[in-house]
């Protein structure tokens, strides 16, 4: 009886949140999507070794960016410390595999769930902060959790890091498997973004981003919506962290909680178009592909160019590349963007 009630409530809420406005997908877009999807499915037949790993890494960044987009793009909450969920996922997977003997996939699942629970617990208090204060709080939390991983050395391996059990399979097959897992997670991330964007939750989040007071006066439970958004974001990021740990077979606090991953994800999100479904994914593909192929050669120049891109995107295309496709690209529109910035 009691459980029935809760199931009904949760079901009602999920329907309520994800119920789509215009789920009819345009046919040719769907076909293009399927072709691209099949293309990626077949890709491992044509490439191997290094390029499979590059592709997996691009997928990983696309997932982190897509997940970040849910809280930072739609709701406008700059969760710079979102990478904490990546670390939690990675360490949960590592600990469960090593200390409990879980198979990797259940470690990853538990990691995702723990990251989501952590987002609820932390989100309830800190999602009340607005603007810069929230961003700073997330940075602080990331740092604090990283410190736990560092200090609890007996369990986590501390600053020296920790080695996971190696996979019992041919290394080429292993990389192909990681490729498909990352690709699956990417599809899940795109689906989550799509449902949120078209559904009720998306409208609530965008209203909160644009004006939180007016959103609440319109009947939007802002705290609940923000916590739900951050939980979904954390779950996806946590899963990715778990897969990352299994993939690299070695994690240390400095890489699992690396703030640069989050910064890069922000750049990717803004490059593609924050608050859109495909923008952040596109941004991640572009930036990661270019950075792996071109700038990977120049280690120090790499950061400089990243910096220039950040400034360029913010000034010239604050709404991202997708916006350029929607409107006609003209010098005048770029200059208008610059002028709007100065106000």
């Amino acid at each position: 009886m009691f459980i029935d009630h809760w199931q009904l409530t949760i079901e009602k809420w999920l329907l309520f949140l994800f119920e789509g406005a215009d789920i009819e997908v345009k046919k040719n877009r769907l076909i293009i999507g399927i072709i691209i999807g099949l293309g990626f499915m077949a890709l491992p037949l044509f490439i191997e070794g290094y390029w499979i790993r590059v592709a997996s890494s691009i997928f990983m960044y696309a997932i982190i960016t897509g997940a970040l987009n849910i809280i930072a793009g739609f709701a406008g909450y700059a969760a710079f410390g979102n990478i904490v969920f990546f670390g939690i996922g990675a360490y949960t997977t590592a600990m469960l595999m090593l200390r409990v003997g879980f198979p990797w996939w259940s470690g990853v699942m538990v990691g995702g769930v723990l990251a989501a629970i952590f987002a609820v617990l932390v989100g309830l208090p800190i999602l009340r902060l607005r603007g810069h204060y929230f961003a700073i709080a997330t940075l602080g939390i990331n740092r604090a959790v990283e410190q736990i991983a560092l200090d609890w050395g007996r369990f986590t391996g501390g600053g020296k890091g920790i080695t996971l059990p190696l996979p019992q399979m041919e290394i080429q097959n292993f990389y192909a498997m990681i490729y498909f897992i990352m690709f699956g997670l990417l599809l899940l991330t795109i689906l989550a973004n799509f449902l949120i964007a078209r559904g009720r939750l998306g409208y609530a989040l965008r209203a909160i981003r644009d004006n939180e007071d007016a959103a609440e006066a319109s009947g939007i439970f802002a705290p609940t919506c923000k916590v739900i958004a951050w939980t979904i974001s954390a779950f996806l990021t946590g899963l990715t962290g778990g897969v990352f740990a299994y993939w690299f077979s070695f994690i240390e606090p400095a890489t699992a909680f690396d703030i640069m991953i989050a910064v890069k994800a922000f750049v990717m999100m803004m490059l593609g178009g924050a608050g859109t479904v495909f923008g952040p994914i596109l941004g991640a593909f572009l930036l990661e592909l270019i950075s792996e192929t071109v700038w990977g050669q120049f280690l120090t120049l790499h950061m400089l160019i990243l910096g220039i891109i950040v400034v360029g995107v913010v000034i010239f295309i604050p709404r991202g590349i997708l916006e350029l496709f929607r409107k006609k690209i003209s010098l005048a529109s770029l200059i208008r963007n610059v002028r709007n910035q100065s106000i």
Partner: protein
Amino acid sequence: MAVLEGKSVSKLFGALPAVDQVDFHLQQGEILGLIGPNGAGKTTLINLVTGIYPLTQGEIFFEDEKIDGLKPAVIARKGIARTFQIVKPFPGMTVRENVVIGSLFGKGGIERKTRTAFQEADRWIEYVHLQDYRNASVDQINLSFRKRMDLAKALAMSPTVLMLDEVMAGLNSKDIEEMMALVTRINQELKITLLVIEHVMKAVMGLCHRVMVLHHGRKIADGTPQEIVRDDHVIEAYLGERYAKARK
């Protein structure tokens, strides 16, 4: 019957009483004007009713249910909608998306399917005569249109009580005429009870059934528009003591 009633409502900001033991009520179906000099506490009173600020003292009842202490979103879903003095649109959305927020999340919004909510939104956009700008983004339309959009969003929330915070401010006289006609229609056709904060006296005199005057957070007068403009306290508050004395 009073739909909305406040008993000895007070709000202190530090030691400053912004609203000081104000008793007020809104009769079903009426248009109540709320006037007073700048800083009299008019907007603060609306913010107290809508739950943006907690009360320092007093109680507020909506349809005989105590609503003070509830969250703004809960109060909004019970059927109290408002517009803001400085229009607060959602700039990243189109006019239609702005209005649909009201029908998605206002009173009865949860039961509504998103598709139905959009149909509702379209209906209200036509009601305020904005159908030609449905897909325009907010920064493409002028202040008069934004105010009407804000009104459409509030109407989409199916409110019982609608509170308008200076909807006429900044409009030219033609726009004021149109807005007055719209407010009258809202009151008569939709049977919505209205609380109207207004500085434009033409609108106050033309629209309101009853007027309440605040000054330094206190209620100094309450009566028909004709009574109010002859009230000595009100003249004193608006035009100064010397003018009031000279008049006598």
